[in-house]
Symmetry: C2
Subunit: 491 residues, 2 copies
């Protein structure tokens, strides 16, 4: 069969070119798993699209060259910056098949296999996290969208007429979360027409957590003032430190006050698979959003929304389209969120559970938490570094010991230098800096099961060497007395 888009190729030629492409793409994946690739400038490697068309047989080599050292590289076991996506070989193979099959996952009638796969995956993920049944949900590109979808449903449950008539003339809605809530939540409040000001912090002294007593007071005072509580957003694993809201107590409050409880578990929700108490508490939530590309070893664009009652999603998103002439399948994926022609995101998760299985996934989660504990236990009082946030999951935050007594304008650049020093180690270690309160600190996140304990040892060694380098006795540095924890007379 010839192809007018690529007239030089028949099926035999395509078969040869696809095989070459696959070999090159395999090589790319294998190479990108190893530590130590350099990261040259991006633009210099991009050919000009206005040139004459490139023959298809030259495409693979060109793409391999463009992507070999492209960032971020979540497969690098020494990449601990932000929240890397490690992916896995079963998911990669599934993605290749998904690309070759090019199914969409809109409705059971149009795409029975895709929808069956997605439903299997939703149920499997819900079981894995102890969220249990009944449960519906949806795969999304990411948890930002999953959070937006859940909050749309919560808003339409709180304002039953708003879907038709809009929010004008209705009482202001309110969302409640901790101060550490992810930026996608105020963004969702804006999209939904509630406005960013609708999001209220229910934290007390600890900005990482909602204070349940404070929350109850807020809810009652707001109701009394004529405002309409829409949802409480509990975070399971903040992006900054991995902190977890007091879910069980929050669930008591939201049940008594009849407010939607949504869990943003983008990074941390998988911990429920190895912590039965967390799972039980999370199961009380009306909805849970998570990114399987964060801590369930999937490639990017593997977000997921679980909901206790999928009909709540259908209330916000269900439609009838004459042009489809289909029986109305209320709980079809296209009726549960804002996307219609959705691809086959489910296949990679399906293949992961099929070939790796829940037991090894749990082991990998424990392994990541173990690495974080190993790292955080590595700093004695004589170390130039110290842990500066509670290590709850697999994130570790460190600061130069004593730097909290320096002015930010001196301490912050030191932490950036420390980060850059690690990046220039051989092999390089990638960590991120993070503003915690008003102080910049170092942050390391373990979500790659391929990272080994001896690599944490290497990390500690480089961390301490770099800390001593950015903190010499003279120069732009901490006073040595502060750095060693001994109060300085000059401090």
């Amino acid at each position: 069969m010839t192809d007018p888009l690529l007239p030089d190729c028949d099926d035999t030629r395509f078969a040869v070119l696809l095989e070459t492409a696959a070999r090159e793409a395999s090589g790319l994946w294998l190479a990108r798993r190893r530590p130590g690739l350099t990261n040259p400038d991006a633009r210099s490697t991009l050919p000009d699209l206005r040139d004459l068309p490139l023959p298809l047989e030259a495409l693979s080599a060109e793409l391999a060259g463009m992507l070999a050292s492209a960032t971020p590289r979540g497969t690098d076991p020494l990449n601990l910056a932000y929240i890397p996506s490690s992916g896995n070989a079963a998911a990669l193979i599934a993605d290749w098949f998904a690309a070759a099959a090019n199914l969409h996952t809109a409705s059971a009638l149009l795409s029975p296999q895709g929808v069956a796969l997605e439903r299997d995956v939703i149920a499997t993920v819900a079981d894995f996290l102890g969220y249990g049944q009944p449960c519906g949900g949806l795969l999304t590109g990411g948890s930002s969208l999953a959070n937006l979808i859940a909050l749309t449903a919560a808003r339409d449950a709180a304002f039953p007429g708003a879907g038709k008539e809009g929010l004008t003339g209705l009482p202001p809605g309110r969302l409640y979360a901790s101060t550490a809530v992810h930026v996608c939540i105020p963004r969702a409040a804006q999209v939904l027409g509630l406005g960013q000001d609708a999001l209220v912090s229910a934290s007390s002294s600890d900005p990482d957590r909602i204070d349940p007593t404070r929350l109850r007071e807020h809810l009652r005072a707001d109701r009394a003032a004529g405002l309409r509580p829409v949802a409480v957003i509990a975070t399971v694993g903040t992006a900054a430190t991995g902190a977890i809201d007091p879910l069980a107590e929050l669930a008591d409050v939201t049940r008594n006050e009849q407010v939607w409880l949504h869990v943003d578990g983008a990074y941390g929700a998988p911990a429920a698979a190895i912590e039965p108490e967390l799972a039980r508490a999370m199961a009380a939530a009306d909805s849970v959003a998570l990114d399987l590309h964060k801590w369930l070893f999937q490639p990017y664009e593997t977000g997921c929304l679980l909901v206790r009652d999928a009909r709540a999603l259908a209330t916000s998103f269900s439609f009838r389209a004459d042009y489809l002439d289909l029986p109305h399948g209320e709980l079809d994926p296209m009726q549960l969120g804002p996307e219609l022609s959705r691809g086959l995101r489910a296949l990679r998760i399906w293949a992961t559970f099929r070939c790796i299985g829940p037991e090894r996934l749990r082991e990998a989660l424990r392994h990541c938490m173990g690495l974080a504990r190993l790292l955080s236990d590595s700093f004695s009082e004589s170390s130039p570094l110290e842990v500066c946030a509670h290590v709850r999951l697999s994130v570790v935050c460190l600061r130069l010991r004593g730097s909290e007594r320096l002015d930010c304008t001196r301490a912050d650049p030191m932490h950036r230098k420390l980060r850059d020093c690690l990046a220039s180690a051989s092999p390089p270690i990638l960590v991120s800096t993070l503003r915690l309160g008003d102080r910049l600190v170092l942050r390391m996140c373990f979500v790659n099961p391929a990272t080994r304990a001896d690599e944490v040892t290497y990390l500690v060694e480089r961390l301490e060497a770099c800390a001593r380098k950015v903190n010499p006795v003279t120069g732009d540095s901490l006073p040595q007395s502060i750095a060693t924890g001994i109060p300085s007379q000059n401090a």
Copy 2:
């Protein structure tokens, strides 16, 4: 390098398994391009995820079996139902590399290569469609989301305080479109808190088009009544018939009335690449949404939003995140829409333009329109079928001649039978039924460049044979006199 998720595999083993996977996935793609696959039941082919993990070496064969005949199959040249996604070999190769590289496309600092690719692609698509510069935009999973993003920006431009304070207490917003507007638009109105009732039809006698005079009257009357016009949504290529709104006249109205003009060109926008007048008119729009998986030969989840001024998107979606500690890049992709960790959707479009080039893409668009004309010119007055909607792009709607004089309860089932009759031809032809006004009709959509003129001849032959079969002289049928166009005394 070993992998604790798949402990039986080292890199050598992975290389072998990936090569096997690629060979099987290539075979799947080649097989799915040919007409005539049967479509067995979905569920029967799905293995149980609760079984013991499957060895990775068995995954490829299992996936190939699951997906071989899965629907929909947009590569089948005889699949003319709904709007199939044909994909192409360059895009497939790019998707394989994108899966192997697993980049995200969030910010130029975190993912320089991914962002550079996406910016190149946005500019290239804008040039291809004659939308020109200055232009910003965003790739999305689909045009439903692209439309939602554009309308968020339009709403926040119309209600400058709403992003912060919400819509409560503000005047009701209004959206204007034709009666044939896609279902994702009222859905977006609901998500945005405007409410589905905010969407007003500005059609007059022709439900497929906005009447510019009527629109102007609506805008002025609504403003006078204290309502707030938010956007006019012009459709370029309705899902039903491919109709196009009178863009140039609408642009005059929206310019004079200072309202955001958004084009939903999900299916039809690529026609601007071969129709300079359409391109000029579309270039006056503030934003254009399209699905490159519809009529630009991409696989699913290749939506795109073009905007004249990307800062309008940043007003709605830009945020600062302490946990990222990044310089604020206002026009980073993650600042222009609701998604944060976005994958490398750009690569497949990039590879398509790189290896196929704009000229062959234009030829393919003309080819599809030519097939639609060829089909619609095939029905003489003696045919049992007739064209029942203006053929503007590459969609053809047909009905049984004379069926409009029958009651719907008789005529509709005949059209479904006709559809089913085509599906049981050998090789099968897939068409969809569609409600046009209150009548069911047959709809065929040509978006696959691999469909040949002789396949249209085969289609016409099967159409007429099937029409005669569902319309015998006796039985559940049209009176023969009606079917041949001669008025019946009994009608």
